[in-house]
Subunit: 416 residues, 2 copies
Amino acid sequence: MIQTTEVVDKARAAQQAAALLRQSRTTARDAALRRMAGGLRASRTDVLVANIKDVEASREAGATAALLDRLALNEARVDAMAQALEEVAALPDPLGEGESWVRPNGLHISKIRVPIGVIGIIYEARPNVTVEAASLAFKAGNAVVLRGSSSALETNKVLVALMRQALQESGLPPDAISLVEDTNRDVVDEMVRLNGLLDVVIPRGGDALIQRVVRAATVPVIETGVGNCHVYVDSRADLDKAERIVVNAKTHRPAVCNAAESLLVHGEVAAAFLPRVGRALIEKGVELRGCPRTREWLSDAKPATEDDFGREFLDLIMSVKVVDSLDDAISHVNCYGTHHSDAIVTEDYSAARQFTQAVDSAAVYVNASTRFTDGGEFGFGGEMGISTQKLHARGPMGLRELTTSKYVVTGEGQIR
Amino acid sequence: MIQTTEVVDKARAAQQAAALLRQSRTTARDAALRRMAGGLRASRTDVLVANIKDVEASREAGATAALLDRLALNEARVDAMAQALEEVAALPDPLGEGESWVRPNGLHISKIRVPIGVIGIIYEARPNVTVEAASLAFKAGNAVVLRGSSSALETNKVLVALMRQALQESGLPPDAISLVEDTNRDVVDEMVRLNGLLDVVIPRGGDALIQRVVRAATVPVIETGVGNCHVYVDSRADLDKAERIVVNAKTHRPAVCNAAESLLVHGEVAAAFLPRVGRALIEKGVELRGCPRTREWLSDAKPATEDDFGREFLDLIMSVKVVDSLDDAISHVNCYGTHHSDAIVTEDYSAARQFTQAVDSAAVYVNASTRFTDGGEFGFGGEMGISTQKLHARGPMGLRELTTSKYVVTGEGQIR
């Protein structure tokens, strides 16, 4: 018998709620999402008052400016959450999609998309994740147990209370969305071992959080996150496109997982490309760390260590390496990369084909920025994170990735 | 740095092979599979000689007759393996299947089915699993590292050597299929923690093996197996169909995971159905364990304990319970079952609809035996096991379930 604690109680209640959600209609869930949006707008002041408490407490505890920025809400941010809820309500429902066939013995088999059940989500300071993650999981018919950062607890409590109230008013079980309020860090370890109560755990946040969850979990985990992404500039690259793509992939938003961390340049275009891309990157404040051959053309670059090629900087830093061939570029990406997003810039058909086939990453690009690896950019309408594992979901996880399948087999007395 | 041991060396070699397989053609892999079949037939004697060694050693070590039967090969069994290889070669290749779309900014996005990479398979005494599991994983473009039972080691060595030779002769990397020969049990624990080398581990065997792997693994695992399957006979059941289905589901092959372990009967038909199904089951040698209401109509049934309703007997034993309603039947199945395969027997449209929606199992049946949950019966041409988890694969795992996906995004210089 599992000992009763807050997290166990909430997971059990979520499991009951999931059984009801499994039979709920799209229209009912969408109406609840729209009601949540309305509730959030109507109670904007309550959210902001709670948020001020969280921000003040974090400031007194000496939080960094970056953390305070992630934590702090304002009217526009609350309105954006409400709008996101309405956008999720407007997305097509993935549930019930499927295929069916008839076997020679007359059995009809349907494979139907159904909710996973209960999803545990463990995340960090941004309160908007509370609304975004809960709404996507709920839209796909799942119950969620949320475990956010203690720094955002007061804000999260108000947000979850508003969502639960909307569920209640919509005739759906409020326990479909719950928040673990126990701020003891051991709760995470307890949560990721609730086999039989949680069907999956999704960590959202930095590498330390994700690794902690992966190591401790016995419940299946969808690993998200780390992106050591490459741009490879081939000998047949259009160097204008190459410069535009490298600068965008590195500098557009350097702290996110689909930002490029490493630049590979074919030896034949090193002389023509490295000085110009170097200037452009340095102008944007990027620190370059190059291999010896890179530094022949880019004297401003610091020497790169072996470690630099394996790192996700999440900052305005880029490692640079000159390679002798497409094969070397592919080997480098597969060896040092994290199988997230990698790009080739080339006008050579065969090179493009070989790169996309041989690079073992969730998203492989030809002549486009790695920054497009994103549920919104891919047209999924939202995302729960970007999976870097190969099982279940790979790349941006939209609503479909928050479902599983069920076989429904109907007959007229068939036996074996 | 990972310490170098046999399993690490073989996993590393498999990773190199996987990189080549990723770019191999269907025709090449299918030719290799057919060559394996030819090699197996040509070297049948070598296989049988090795197998006699294994069987003798196991007999001397006091193995049970059941184990010896699983272990022992004969000409017909070797020929069946060769034929299975040819059947796998003839299956359609799942690789490259996909969907594609164009985004408003002109990016073309394709989601393409690709190999997972390196699959670790941990299994027990049956040597035919060596050929079956390796061939399915390889057909889907994966390299495999096999860890069979020490009792089958000599047989497995010959089988794997034959498959590797066929790979070599077909111009494909022999390290695509390798066998861990170290019989130390700790090797399993080492293997399931090779993150970065193995992409997934699939245990095939009894519950003890599977639970051991799930608990020890940090590599993602696809859990297969345990089936506490139910047949629910509704108040509106056709009792002839019901009897036929219950007897088949229980007695056709009682030791497999899709055999029924528990019978639920609606109170309104208990008097009419229990005596006749009881007679039919007892005639087949089934021991019945019933709830008090069952025993009013089936005096031959022993009293069932709470534990009996949660057990996978894998034997000619069946628990029986009388329920008051469809809702009670659904709650019982979701609470005591293992979410594998569960059936309702009914002529009532609404009851069938509610049961299939509310029962949270990989396969839900109306008026058919649970025994159909099988890759072959579903038309997949073969199976790697039956997944009882909800992530990645649920139910029988065919070739598609041995693949992952990759997004290929092509542009003409797009940036964000």
